[in-house]
Amino acid sequence: MNTRNYKKDVSDQGSIKGQTNQNFGFSQPQQFQDGVSRIQEEMMDPRNIQPDSMFLNFSGVLECGECEDEESLRIEYAVKYGGDDWTYLKTSNNADDAEPSGISQLSTSRNLHSRNIVWNFPFECNFQTKNIFGWPQVVVRLSGPDFMGRSVAKGYGSVHVPTQPGYHERIIRIFKPLPISGFTGFLGYLLGNTAELKNFDKVISSGEGREVTRVKSVGYVKVKFHVTLVNFDKFGYL
């Protein structure tokens, strides 16, 4: 039996094909009674509904890392995304959940032979989007005490969230901005004003305006990602 017979030309709806607002309740003739539940099932089947946005849900752990000869470090992360099309979905009403970011504990390497510092810092984010451009990146900053105990930034880095669903491991390369000259570097070392990036999350995630900065590679951070994509196949991706 052809279950699509319920569509007829509804002239007041204009020329939109397939649109219907008929009452499938009790005014239909008996012969369509069998088709009603199948039609309703078909309409409620999620595969038949075209969603209006895609969702990206990822969680992960900032696991461990090294930074040249540093013993104690804390890691801070922020997730930067393209502002217009992407929406960060909050999971709670806390004030610190307004933007996806976090600061970990201050951790120390275990002994003198290994510089590996373990944070094991978990994170989870939900995003809603209609466009792939502006895919989120995780931007990190490592900071720790200098020789006087003041907290200074020791390195920065960023990585894109993986685009394929499942489990992925990534390595974030960490770099540190260099002072302009030897003298400013020495003075900054004494005063605790080492070369740092203001608004590090905006600067590192966009890549604009970094042409004249000088940096040095200082280490790496290992990250684990678990990614789930929702509605991406309905939009033609995946």
């Binding site: 895919w135 960023s158 894109h160 394929q164 390369r173 991706y237 995946l238």
Partner: protein
């Protein structure tokens, strides 16, 4: 225009799957980072410039301007990575896959007197399948031209005329080498045409002599749209 999803009483209105022409166009996203450089064996600072070369059927939708990427300047100890860490996000609309995008890389050197000069060149082709890829591009530095090769006719077969060739192939141009020794800078390419196969001047690459240099590492995630629907491979 599509009528919004309505729920009236105990009936559900069927929401039509409205397909527009834009839904069936193939699109590609290259999302990634120029991570850094390895094995460059220099004490100077290095930065990388990336230009994208693609065919006519490729339309760069986002970002709006294709002015190329220039990374930060990085210093490294021997054996360490020159960390550039420059993220990029490219969104192409594809009407013809001829001319798959290539990254034309140019590595610059910033020496101690704050002077910049070209260090090396490289070409890398963006991956053709969805997922995470690590592109490693080996780069080369031009050391001179072999102008005697220009004397030969364009279609002459290399294999048949070995006498003339074997004599000239080994002669590296001493003028460029002397200049680069005293001026401390290698010769530069005047155009990026020898790097890409699409432009007409690629055939002139045969007159170049070059020396190997370090490698540039690019991590990229590729997202393909509608490739499977249009029966293109990769998705």
């Amino acid at each position: 225009m599509s009528v919004p999803y309505q729920q009236t009483g105990n009936q559900l209105d069927y929401q039509e799957i409205k397909q527009t022409k834009a839904d069936l166009k193939a699109e590609i996203h290259f999302i990634g980072q120029i991570v850094g450089g390895l094995d460059f064996q220099t004490d100077d600072g290095l930065f990388c410039e990336l230009a994208i070369d693609c065919g006519d059927g490729w339309d760069l939708l986002q970002p709006g301007n294709n002015k190329g990427i220039q990374t930060q300047t990085s210093y490294a100890n021997p054996g360490q990575l020159f960390s550039w860490c420059h993220p990029f996000d490219l969104h192409f609309s594809v009407s013809n896959i001829i001319g798959w995008p290539k990254a034309l890389l140019k590595v610059w050197r910033l020496d101690s007197s704050n002077k910049i000069d070209a260090c090396s060149y490289g070409t890398s082709i963006f991956p053709r399948s969805a997922g995470y890829h690590q592109m490693t591009c080996e780069t080369w530095t031009p050391t001179g031209e072999n102008l005697d090769l220009e004397i030969r006719k364009p279609n002459e077969d290399l294999a048949t005329n070995t006498d003339q060739f074997s004599k000239f192939d080994r002669s590296l141009d001493w003028r460029f080498q002397a200049l680069s020794f005293y001026m401390e800078n290698p010769p530069r390419l005047t155009t990026l045409a020898p790097l890409t196969t699409d432009k007409g001047d690629f055939a002139r690459r045969k007159i170049l002599n070059s020396i190997s240099n370090g490698k540039v590492i690019i991590e990229v995630e590729v997202i393909l749209k509608n490739f499977k629907r249009l029966s293109f491979s990769g998705q």
